[in-house]
């Protein structure tokens, strides 16, 4: 009324002038990234990988290429197939995370990077050497064991292959030694009928959210 709304409009812009800008000066400062971010440069643990190629089969785009060869020793004795090729064509990847979901041994994780831009398409293919030498800072996407440990790939330290699985390392030791006596227990069912008192793995049992490894 009487042009007062014009003055009101001017006041609105003046109020915005005094506010802090929203801009994040990207290369110098970054927004906080969610730990479950599905990023580039997959984190892959060769020690955990059996070369089963589940990830390659589940990939909707078929951009993962895996070649294996039988290992020198017998697989029955605890050794596994040797990975010769593990190529991921990042230029076609849509980061759906199905490969990570498919991996039965927690060997493949989403990365947390987003700065892998290259000048040619050939450079966009991640080879097995890139995967071996990449920063082992897995995203917690589809990995509840990392998420419940409050792991932050941007801030946290690189994780060893023994630390990232759903099972505890003790479980592995006993698995290899044929000592699979105790059924891993869920945190809520620690006093269930199948639970066996095991002082050694009492803490680790909390980190086993599922019991797919039982015989």
């Amino acid at each position: 009324m009487f042009g007062l709304s014009m003055a009101a409009g001017l006041l609105v812009t003046l109020k915005n002038l005094t506010k802090k800008p929203f801009t994040v000066q990207y290369p110098e400062e970054r927004v906080k990234q969610h730990p479950r971010f599905r990023g580039e440069e997959f984190v892959w643990y060769e020690e955990r990988c059996t070369g089963c190629a589940s990830c390659a089969k589940y990939c909707p785009l078929g951009i993962i290429k895996i070649e294996t060869s039988p290992s020198e020793t017998q697989p029955q004795q605890g050794d596994k197939y040797v990975l010769e090729t593990f190529d991921i064509q990042l230029n076609r990847c849509m980061f759906c995370g199905l490969c990570v979901e498919a991996c039965p041994y927690d060997a493949l994780f989403m990365g947390s990077g987003f700065e892998q831009g290259r000048y040619s398409r050939k450079d966009m293919v991640i080879t097995i050497d890139d995967l071996r030498h990449a920063d082992k800072k897995p995203s917690t996407y589809l990995r509840p064991q990392l998420e419940s440990a409050n792991y932050d790939p941007r801030a946290g330290k690189p994780l060893d292959w023994k630390e990232v699985g759903r099972e505890s390392w003790d479980w592995h030791l006993r698995e290899k030694a044929g000592m699979r006596l105790s059924r891993p227990t869920l945190p809520g069912h620690a006093d269930g009928p199948n639970a066996v008192e095991d002082s050694d793995s009492g803490q680790d049992a909390n980190r086993n959210p599922d019991n797919r490894d039982t015989a």
């Binding site: 009487f2 042009g3 812009t13 915005n16 506010k19 800008p21 801009t23």
Partner: protein, 395 residues
Amino acid sequence: MSGLYQVIYEAAGIILPSWMSHLVAGVSIMMILVNAVLMGAAVFVWMERRLIGRFHNRIGPNRWGPFGTFQPFADMLKLIFKEDIIPANADKPVFVLVPIAMLMPVILMMAVVPFAQHTALVNLNVGVLYVLAVTSVTTLAIFMAGWSSNNRFAMFGAARGVAVLISYEVPVVISLLGVVVVTGSMSLADVVSAQTVPFLLVQPLAFFVFLAGTSAELNRTPFDVAEAESELVAGYHTEFSGVKFALIQAAEFGGVAASAGVIVTLFLGGWGGPASAYLGWLWFLLKVGVIAFVFIWIRATFPRLRVDQIMALAWKFLLPLSLINLFAIVLEVFFLRDASGVLSVSDLWIMAGINIVLAVTAIALFGAMIREKVTPNKWQPATVPGAGLPAGEVR
């Protein structure tokens, strides 16, 4: 002729013959003018981009130099190195002349603005008239740009620009008459010395009209139909690139700086202020900064008006206001001046009191009168053919 020209002429005349000292004085004045306008344009570009950024909750240019101060120079360098295209069907001589015709009035306008005491480059006794005459050349330049480009968007922009400029010239001139009547002189130095009370208070209506009119003449946002980016590609300078575009941009932003200088001189007391004999330039720059901020603030706030709204604002709103202002000022000067025709400070304060009330009343009254009477349509559901027919009827 007096002011800085005279000073340089006399200083050079000690060792040089008369004609050569005229040359020296002229060339140095031109150097000062061109550099003042271009630097003013650069500073204003930087200020505008930073402030508009902050108005938008952004930061604005900040990569080049401290707080992005080198950004205008980087832009200018980029534009200089770009290809300078002249369209095949353009009217070449006119097309080439356009940037010069755009920049010239801005540079000339700065010549009579006193930066500090006795520091006007030329102290013209018809300074106000000169400023008005020189700024009108922009109209011609805009029309030249539109016509010579041989481009429909440029032509539309130019037609709109000329219409706006001619319309807004009228209220601007009439509002300036009030200033001249109170001052009793057309010289800008006299206008400044007459402002014992800033004319912003003595005639707020004239200031309002002049600010709006200058905004329109500078093609700034509420009135920038001539180069409406969202409707015409870039308006009259659609076809200009490279150095020509750089010069047109310099003229546009330098024009804002120069107009801010003129507004400060006419309405805010110019270089006047505490210790103005020594710090006049500082007061002048501060006031120019304030006016430039107001221009940027208005640009950040108001959306672009339609062409008919702009015309209505000029002829139905600003013109009556400027006439009311002129009428009131003439009556007040007639009744308040003493026998020698001089207004004292108390007279000016009385005028200020009357005119502020008058300004508020007149703006409210005419603002209510030109308000668009919008009757919202009552919503009706879309009529489907055959919607009223009973279900199952075979049609």
